[in-house]
Amino acid sequence: MKNFLHHLFLPKESNNYRPGLLQHKFLLALTLFFFSAGLMLSFVKTNFPSVLGSFSNISNQELLILTNQQRQNNNLGPLTDNQELDAAAANKAADMFGKDYWAHNAPDGTTPWVFIKGAGYNYVYAGENLARGFTNAQDVITAWMNSPEHRKNVLSPNYQNVGFAVETGKLSGEDTVLVVEMLGSMSFASAPVPSEPKNPVQVAVAAGSPTVKAVTANVPAPIQAPVVAAKVQNQNIITTPTSQELLGVNSIIKPFINSQTLALNLAKIIIFGFILVLISDMIIIERKKIVRFVGHNLDHVIFFSLILIIVLILVKGVII
């Protein structure tokens, strides 16, 4: 056993002074293993979602608490959870999965405001934040707070209500968790106009209100919003879902094994293993002054470090 491990990890005579792990046969075998393991995991995830799949520990309640904590820290009033906005967020998430897109506006031009109006929420201010691929609520809020535009939405004094949806599904063939945050206000009364011009990611100011002109004069950014709001009044594309429909949208099967954790840990072990073997091989060969015609180990160390960083980028969530 000891000899086998030496053969695998350290340069010695029996392996022609190149660790078994770095020899062509092993590299080829490992490459084939990862390609087939990826396909196998994908198959199990699709056919046995109760065994293997991606899931998150994000709850609407936790998102609300963390959002209000951020507002409290910035001397702003708390947002109240609104069922219509929850429904709008759930419809938006379902729409993204259904039409396979990841954007504020659908490929057919449907804007977030359509979902808000469609759910029965008559806004004077509205905004939307999106997040994808996160596994806990704190990371979602931190990512939004670190982005100036999303931060403006979370900390806008214009909003009184909020609705969230956390949904699992497939986007571009990839299992993912979407978080939709819909913010809104139905009246101007307790929603003071900010002194500085705002330009959040997605913000609408409703048209049709007699006071809109005065408000839009102070809020120069949302150019498309009035047009969108006018559209909504003529065509109610999305209807408020029934409780059963909502139940269907929100029902998430929590798999026995989290595929992301499994894949991430395996990839990390292999990459760290390779980096260690490459470095030890480099040191031993240099000390023993052995001449070999092989690739530069330092090249491979740099390359595997890059692969490790990419792996970490892949598992990190994205916001828009």
Binding site: G38, L41, A267, M282, F303
Partner: protein
């Protein structure tokens, strides 16, 4: 070892610069999986090309080395494929 490293310092700096550029590209395309996959393939292809070019310039390029760089690159891609198809 230090002397060897000093001799090749320009190469290593250029390699890190190329891979960093690839990394930025991969990060920027993270909301589009197809673009991101293309950025990954491009970065790995550059790594193989740059490594082989360096060996060629040092008159030490052999078939064994060519195969090694291709296999290391393929292993990197297979790990990322594994993450993208099975892990996310």
């Amino acid at each position: 070892m230090r002397e060897k490293f000093k001799k090749h310092i320009g190469y290593y700096i250029s390699l890190i610069a190329i891979l960093s550029f690839g990394l930025i590209l991969i990060f920027l395309t993270r909301s589009n999986i197809l673009m991101q996959s293309f950025a990954i393939l491009l970065t790995v292809a550059f790594y193989i090309f740059w490594g082989l070019l360096h060996h060629l310039l040092n008159h030490e390029l052999t078939l064994r080395i060519v195969v090694e760089y291709i296999l290391i690159g393929a292993l990197g891609i297979s790990i990322l494929f594994f993450m993208l198809t099975g892990g996310l």
